[in-house]
């Protein structure tokens, strides 16, 4: 009787939790409700966790060790997680998300390991359970090792590396993974050795899958891995007949997939193209880069005059802005220029930076007003009437080759058409290539002038000059 009562309360809590997850995601679609949405989903999660602890099984004194371990696990995780999340810089957000995503994937993988062991001691193991466990293990482990590699790459600890014949190896690994999983399911083979082989292949696949993918595609990969972990969580839900896990996991799985597709569309590439990782392979086609001429430089003073006497200035920020931590500096420049009657806005490319919306988050941190951030389509419409475009640490998202050079790997990707403006100033450290590793003929454009140096440094000098005018 009391047990039934407890289970009813538990299920009720799960329903409430599922509703909070849906509401939380829903509220994320408007800037002023987003924060509340996140908190609501957080409370829902807390409710689901504590309801599970107290109502899932009858609490018995002989399991004191289990309870102690659960509590200590929760405390350790909370302390470390909070510390990491509070310490991380806004510029390092993408890798942080990737890291936490990997933790979720690993959690799903470990659950599968334990449940496999359970199943082995079950006198008549169900095939359905085995399939769910194996899928959870594969997807969770791929998500874990993939996310860790993505984390390392964004952190700059791991360099892009493409193995010769990497695609073939990846396809073979994938075949081996599913071949083995299907064979184990059909024959009901419960050998732990095979399970560990499966685990090893999954981890290896995750590494090799993310390794060759260029930085320009990182947002897509993180989003994809995010939806993988969602799916792994959903398999867990299947395993335990747990609706909260199932709804939460599937919601994230489908939402993440859609987000991934949206990002691919923004870059005009198919998902298969990203996964197979043929990016950067097309560099041979840009053979015509021979007659590029020289890039013209501009002095800080000239740049300041150009800016101060313009009517309309547009800023195109990129990863370089994030690296230089120049978001506050650019906002200061904006304030000073506004005082001088210059109308300034920001043209945000959807995949500028290392994550979609990365630039928005950075500029929001610097208190740049929301309406000043233009999305790409609006920015492009405005470009004709813009006097000066300031490109700060962006490269591939303003590359005209996307429109003109059919042989370029980024051909067809929507870009910000800065060359329609009257003047262009590119703030850049050097003539180096962007993350996609391709030349940018914008730098040699008639309208363009280069202002070399660290973005923050250059901006500070510009501010000083503009003030003196």
């Amino acid at each position: 009787m009391t047990e039934l009562l407890g289970l009813s309360i538990l299920e009720l809590c799960y329903i409430v939790a599922s509703i909070t997850f849906i509401l939380g995601l829903k509220m994320l679609s408007s800037p002023d409700k987003a924060r509340r949405g996140n908190l609501i989903a957080g409370y829902g999660m807390g409710l689901a966790i504590f309801a599970t602890i107290f109502f899932k099984e009858e609490l018995t004194p002989d399991k004191w060790l289990n309870y102690t371990l659960i509590l200590s696990g929760l405390i350790v995780g909370t302390v470390i997680g909070t510390r990491m999340a509070l310490k991380v810089k806004m510029t390092a957000m993408p890798q942080m998300v990737s890291f936490f995503n990997g933790m979720g994937g690993a959690c799903a993988g470990v659950i599968s390991l334990v449940e496999f062991d359970h199943l082995r001691h079950n006198p008549n193991p169900e095939t359905g359970m085995l399939i769910v466990i194996l899928l959870g293990l594969i997807i969770g482990s791929v998500s874990f090792s993939g996310s860790m590699i993505a984390y390392g790459k964004l952190e700059g600890k791991i360099k892009d590396k493409a193995l010769p014949g990497g695609q073939i190896i990846n396809i073979l690994l994938l075949l081996a993974l599913f071949g083995l999983a299907i064979w184990m399911s059909f024959t009901g083979n419960l050998s732990p050795t095979l399970l560990y082989v499966l685990l090893a292949i999954s981890l290896l696949y995750g590494v090799l899958f993310v390794m060759p993918i260029g930085g320009a595609d990182m947002p897509v990969v993180i989003s994809l891995l995010n939806s993988f972990t969602g799916m792994a969580a959903a398999f867990g839900g299947f395993l335990y007949g747990n609706q909260a896990m199932l709804t939460g996991g599937i919601l994230v799985g489908s939402a993440g997939t859609i987000l991934t597709v949206l990002m691919c569309t923004a870059m005009n590439r198919s998902l298969t193209n990203v996964i197979i990782g043929s990016f950067g392979g097309g560099s041979s086609s840009s053979a015509k880069s021979g007659e590029q001429g020289t890039a013209k430089e501009i002095s800080v003073t000239d740049a300041a005059i150009l800016l101060a006497y313009a009517n309309k200035v547009s800023v195109v920020p990129g990863y370089g802005l994030a690296v230089a931590q120049a978001q506050h500096t650019i906002h200061n420049l904006e304030k000073i220029l506004e005082e001088k009657g210059v109308d300034m806005n920001y043209a945000i490319h959807p995949v500028a930076g290392r994550m979609p919306g990365h630039m928005n988050v950075l500029l929001a941190e610097a208190d740049v007003p929301y309406p000043k951030l233009l999305e790409m389509e609006d920015a492009n419409e405005d470009m004709g009437s813009t006097d000066v475009v300031l490109v700060i640490g962006a490269n591939d998202v303003v590359n005209p080759a996307a429109e003109t050079d059919a042989g370029s790997p980024i051909y067809g990707m929507p870009v910000i058409k800065v060359w329609n403006a009257k003047n262009i100033i590119v703030l850049k450290r050097s003539m180096g290539k962007g993350y996609a590793g391709i030349e940018n003929e914008l730098f040699f454009h008639d309208k363009n002038r280069m202002l070399f140096g660290d973005a923050k440094d250059s901006l500070e000098k510009l501010i000083a000059e503009v003030k003196n005018l």
């Binding site: 002023d32 989903a41 470390i80 999340a85 747990n242």
Partner: protein, 103 residues
């Protein structure tokens, strides 16, 4: 074949739930503006931390002498908590900045 069909039949309610959730997820996300993509990804990341419930169930059901399950379960609880807590805190930090000037 029969086994697969019966598997389908036994889990029909879950399959319905999955289908509805898939469409719900797509519907809910398609209204999110590009500005909020990073917080959204991070928020979704925190939500799939719900997988932690699985690790708690393992711990609750494990025999107190089954050290294999207890140790792995503990690791899973820590990993899951990191995902949940880290995810929500990071998302909150990002959104805090939007809130300041949304007025």
């Amino acid at each position: 074949m029969e086994e697969i069909l019966s598997l389908f039949y036994d889990n029909r309610e879950f399959i319905f739930l999955i289908i509805v959730s898939v469409f719900l997820g797509i519907e809910v996300i398609s209204n999110v503006p590009a500005v909020l993509h990073t917080p959204l990804m991070s928020g979704a990341n925190a939500i799939h931390g719900v997988v932690i419930i699985g690790s708690i169930i393992i711990m609750l059901q494990a025999d107190p002498t089954n050290y294999y399950a207890l140790i792995l379960g503990l690791i899973a609880v820590v990993l899951g908590t990191l995902n949940v807590v880290g995810g929500f805190v990071v998302t909150n930090r990002m959104l805090e900045m939007f809130k300041k000037k949304s007025k």
